[in-house]
């Protein structure tokens, strides 16, 4: 885990050359970083689905989210990465943990799904994954090799208040509604 943090830090802040701060495309460093991060994502995602109690799931989810955030850095999407960490890992996950705490008689309580369903789910998911991989393997992507330069946060910010103003405002409205709604739902019944 510490290694992961280290790498994250190095890729994010020890920015080599370009303004975006990602490792140079095509470099060996990128490959190594990618495999480590991707491994993190995969392991923690599997952890989420294998874990039987809810607290462990939450922890695995945290690592997964964090790994994905690192992956965003690798993809030269620093802003998204940061947001991912702040909103997801920092906000949503806390929310979930609160949810766990508020709703569990004991956080270690387990509800197990029937075996049959487990098996079916495994088959379906593995099947889906394999077929998706096959599909990806066959896809002849155009211009896959040259990654473009990253986008600066300023550009994104400007776009948000010009081109994407309406969705942006809508998102704000939605958040407000959600705030009110969530508060209403969770309030103590008289």
């Amino acid at each position: 885990m510490s290694l992961l943090v280290l790498l994250t830090a190095s890729s994010a802040f020890g920015a080599p050359s370009d303004a975006t701060g990602a490792a140079a495309p095509g470099s060996v460093l990128e490959a190594v970083l990618f495999y480590i991060v991707a491994g993190g994502v995969v392991v923690s995602a599997l952890g989420v689905c294998i874990a039987q109690n809810i607290v462990r799931m939450a922890v695995w989810l945290f690592t997964a989210l964090a790994s994905v955030a690192v992956m965003y850095f690798l993809l030269a999407a620093n802003f998204i990465g940061a947001i991912q960490l702040i909103v997801y890992a920092g906000g949503t996950l806390i929310l979930l943990v609160f949810g766990v705490m508020l709703t569990s008689k004991s956080p270690w309580i387990r509800f197990e799904a029937p075996k049959l369903e487990l098996v079916a789910a495994t088959v379906v998911c593995v099947g889906l994954f394999l077929s998706l991989c096959t599909l990806l393997g066959r896809a002849a992507w155009e211009s896959v090799d040259e990654a473009t330069a990253g986008t600066s946060i300023a550009t994104i910010g400007r776009a948000l208040i010009t081109e994407y103003l309406v969705p942006f405002e809508m998102a704000g409205v939605v958040l407000m509604i959600v705030m009110v709604g969530a508060a209403h739902m969770a309030r103590q019944e008289k």
Binding site: K115, L116, E117, V119, A120, A121, L135, R138, W141
Partner: protein
């Protein structure tokens, strides 16, 4: 008279009962007991009767040419299109229609009146609710359907009304539906009729496909043309049981008649139909509806090939014999009459098959009068005897109900063919006798010629044909042997009615064109097997016997059941119609109908294939046969009556002894040749069995497959999945145990109401789609390229 006057009058006559029907349906309960009946009498049949009378008088006033013009110009409107072929709705306006229409309205009117008297004495309430108005509503509906049937100019409409009279019959037989046997009989009647209609429908389909029209006249013209040219239906090499397609068409249409006229082997429903109220038996199951089969054959006569007619004759012959024999042993007065009806219908059908078109219809009309009368008499008797139908308990009723007894006797005489065959004893140029005497004689004469002298005649016919000149102008060298063919008839007509109207001329050419072709078909008619003739004449001796037996057992001798005897009475409202019908029996034997039918035969059959005895259409051979046959047939009633009276003169003693002597025969007849039993086992039980097999198959096979496929999918998943699962062998054991426990409810498993399962299904489907696309859709990679380019241009 303006254009379409007749059509409008007749159509009003058809619609009036329909108005009455709806009125009774909606306002019936409010009208109450006698009023509802009178509505039906006045509106349901009175108005049509008046209109029919007007039409009849008007029609009799028309000249020959005028009639033909009216027939040709009768109203036709398009009702709908089948594909591109129009179905016309119209009035088939000719003498036969007028005669039938009048006959039906007259008899129905009388029976409606009778019904009011009949229903007065019958409880019409079940569980406190009156069904009185329903009875008259159904009768009105029947009036509408039957009159519509008579008027229809198109086969499809004929079929529609055909089914509707069947429905009315169903409803009326099942009028006492609270009694189990009545509803069973109703159902039996309808379904048996449906079997016949199945054949009708096939005939209809063949007509539609090969003749391209459903209009009766057009179909006949096309049929004749196709025969002449060897095209259309005659071009087909398809055969079934050795019948050509054209024959199958005719037989198919005849199947409808077999159902409705209760011909062997579809006769089983008619005796059971006597479960209905007696007026219904009189109206529907004796006088009108059952005769509709004969009417149908008359109407589609021009579409019949000689082979088809041979089949018709065969069926008719079997029916008339077998049913007459059953009638001998019946003890229920209505059943006895029912079997006699069957036998007489057999005669009509047989006559049609032989070519005695006129005689058949003549017999139909006279039979309608006297059989309706007989049934009403029996209704009077049953009503009078406190709902007793067993003749063994009657006897000596003549004193208590004289009018009924005498009118019944008139009927018996008429059906037995009573008449005086001695030359010279004539009224208005005709022999003295009652209905059956004329019509049955003719039928037998034609049958005789067809059975014994046919080869000579047809040979002669070919000979005549070989002369090339046809028969148009040249008088036949041997008049005595001349066959009647269309051309000749037309020639005669021109001779006799020289100043024919121009329209008639047009009609004649039209007809003679079709007629000439018909004549060619006619030439193919084969000799009839002689046993058919023997059976027919044998039955002519049986008929008087069982009718006289029936009358004697009921009205003469000593009362055998004092209770019944004491109760017996008769009421005027019921015997007035009887008297009118008795008069009608006399009149119909002599006047009106015979000439009208003969007139109709010119156009309705293009005059070909029609063999008749009396009148201008009669040929010498048949006249001759008729001359001497008269002694045998005409004398039959004497023999029959004498034997019957001899046996039943002193009560039932002698009859019982005879029964013991002929026990095996009696048993067979008593059980009606076991038709009901055989049908029940073979058809009803068989059908229900097949139905249960189908249901079993559906529930336990198709459904099983569906559920199994779901289960198997899960099971495979379970098996392969558990191996991978680190629960290992333990998991397999548990899994199998769990699955075995759930085995019954395995199909329920997919439906859980749990969101995760729905996600599972959705994902599974998505996966399958992706796999399909991968496996089949994008083999060359071009598809993938398209996807890619659309995503990342």
């Amino acid at each position: 008279m303006g254009q379409y006057t007749y059509e409008i009058l007749l159509a009003c006559g058809v619609l009036s009962p329909l108005v009455s029907f709806w009125l009774l349906v909606f306002a019936g309960p409010k009208l109450g007991k006698p009023a509802a009946g009178w509505v039906a009498v006045v509106l349901g049949m009175g108005v049509p009767l008046v209109l029919a009378t007007i039409v009849l008088i008007g029609w009799l006033g028309e000249t020959e040419g005028g009639r033909a013009a009216l027939t040709a110009g009768a109203y036709r409107g398009t009702w709908a299109y089948i594909g591109t072929i129009p179905v016309t709705v119209g009035v088939k306006l000719d003498s036969l229609t007028v005669a039938m229409f009048f006959m039906v309205t007259l008899i129905a009117f009388l029976i409606f009146v009778f019904s009011i008297g009949y229903m007065k004495g019958h409880s019409d309430e079940v569980a406190g609710k009156s069904k009185y108005h329903r009875f008259f509503a159904y009768l009105s509906l029947f009036g509408f359907s039957m009159l519509g049937l008579v008027l229809s100019s198109s086969l499809l409409f004929l079929f529609i009304f055909w089914e509707l009279v069947g429905l009315c019959s169903y409803l009326l037989i099942g009028y006492y539906f609270d009694k189990g046997f009545a509803s069973a009989a109703a159902m039996k009647a309808f379904i048996t009729n449906r079997v016949g209609d199945f054949g009708f429908l096939i005939g209809l389909m063949l007509v539609f496909m090969h003749l391209g029209t459903l209009d009766l006249d057009e179909a006949a013209t096309v049929f004749a043309q196709q025969y002449a040219a060897g095209t259309g239906i005659f071009a087909s090499h398809f055969t079934l049981f050795g019948w050509s397609l054209a024959t199958i068409m005719g037989v198919g249409l005849f199947c409808g008649a077999m159902g409705k006229s209760a011909q062997f082997p579809l006769h089983v429903w008619l005796p059971d139909a006597m479960a209905g109220p007696t007026p219904v038996s009189a109206l529907i199951h004796a006088a009108t509806m059952v005769a509709a089969g004969v009417y149908l054959v008359a109407r589609v006569y021009r579409l019949m090939t000689p082979e088809a007619l041979a089949f018709v004759a065969l069926i008719g012959c079997l029916t008339l014999t077998l049913m007459a024999l059953i009638a001998i042993v019946q003890v229920d007065i209505k059943k006895c009459l029912a079997y006699s009806t069957l036998s007489q219908l057999g005669y009509m059908i047989f006559a049609m098959g032989c070519g005695a078109w006129i005689a058949a219809l003549f017999h139909l009309i006279t039979h309608a009068f006297f059989k309706a009368m007989l049934f009403l008499c029996s209704g009077q008797v049953i009503e009078g005897c406190h709902h007793e139908q067993d003749m063994r308990k009657m006897g000596g009723l003549m004193k208590k109900m004289p009018v009924t007894g005498i009118t019944f006797l008139v009927g018996v005489l008429a059906i037995a063919g009573t008449g005086i065959p001695i030359p010279g004893a004539e009224i208005a140029g005709r022999k003295i006798g009652l209905g059956g005497f004329f019509s049955k004689d003719e039928i037998l004469a034609v049958a005789y010629v067809r059975a014994f002298e046919w080869d000579d005649i047809s040979k002669h016919e070919e000979h005549g044909e070989a002369h090339g000149a046809g028969h148009t102008a040249a008088p036949e060298p041997e008049g005595s042997r001349a066959m009647l063919v269309a051309d000749r008839t037309q020639a005669e007509h021109h001779d006799e009615h020289q100043p024919a109207a121009a329209a008639h001329g047009a009609q004649s050419t039209h007809d003679s064109h079709g007629g000439a072709d018909r004549a060619a078909i006619f030439k193919d008619m084969k000799k009839l097997p002689s046993w058919m003739f023997y059976l027919a004449i044998f039955t002519a001796y049986v008929t008087p016997f069982y009718m006289m037996r029936c009358w004697w057992m009921t009205f003469m001798g000593k009362p055998r059941d004092q209770h019944v005897y004491d109760h017996a009475h008769e009421t005027p409202l019921m015997y007035v119609p009887l008297v009118v019908l008795a008069i009608g029996t006399f009149v119909s034997s002599y006047f009106l109908f015979r000439p009208l039918i003969e007139d109709a035969s010119h156009s309705a059959t293009s005059a070909a294939m029609v063999l008749a005895t009396d009148g201008e259409l009669g040929t010498e051979a048949i006249h001759a046969a008729h001359g001497w046959l008269r002694w045998y047939v005409g004398g039959a009633f004497l023999v029959g009556f004498i034997v019957a009276i001899a046996i039943y003169r002193n009560g039932l003693g002698l009859a019982e002894q005879l029964k013991k002597v002929f026990l095996p025969i009696h048993t067979i007849l008593w059980n009606k040749y076991y038709f009901d039993e055989v049908y029940d086992v073979v058809w009803v039980k068989g059908c229900v069995l097949v139905a249960h097999i189908a249901r079993f198959f559906d529930t336990y096979f198709i459904d099983l497959l569906v559920n199994l496929s779901a289960a198997v999918t899960e099971r495979i998943a379970a098996f392969s999945g558990l191996v991978i699962d680190n629960h290992g062998i333990d998991g397999i054991v548990n899994g199998i145990a769990k699955t075995s426990i759930d085995i019954g409810g395995v199909a329920r498993a997919p439906q859980t109401g749990r969101i995760r399962n729905y996600v599972l299904f959705a994902t599974a489907v998505a996966t399958v789609v992706v796999v399909c696309v991968l496996a089949f859709g994008m083999d060359s990679g071009s598809g993938a390229a398209t996807v890619a380019s659309s995503v990342a241009p």
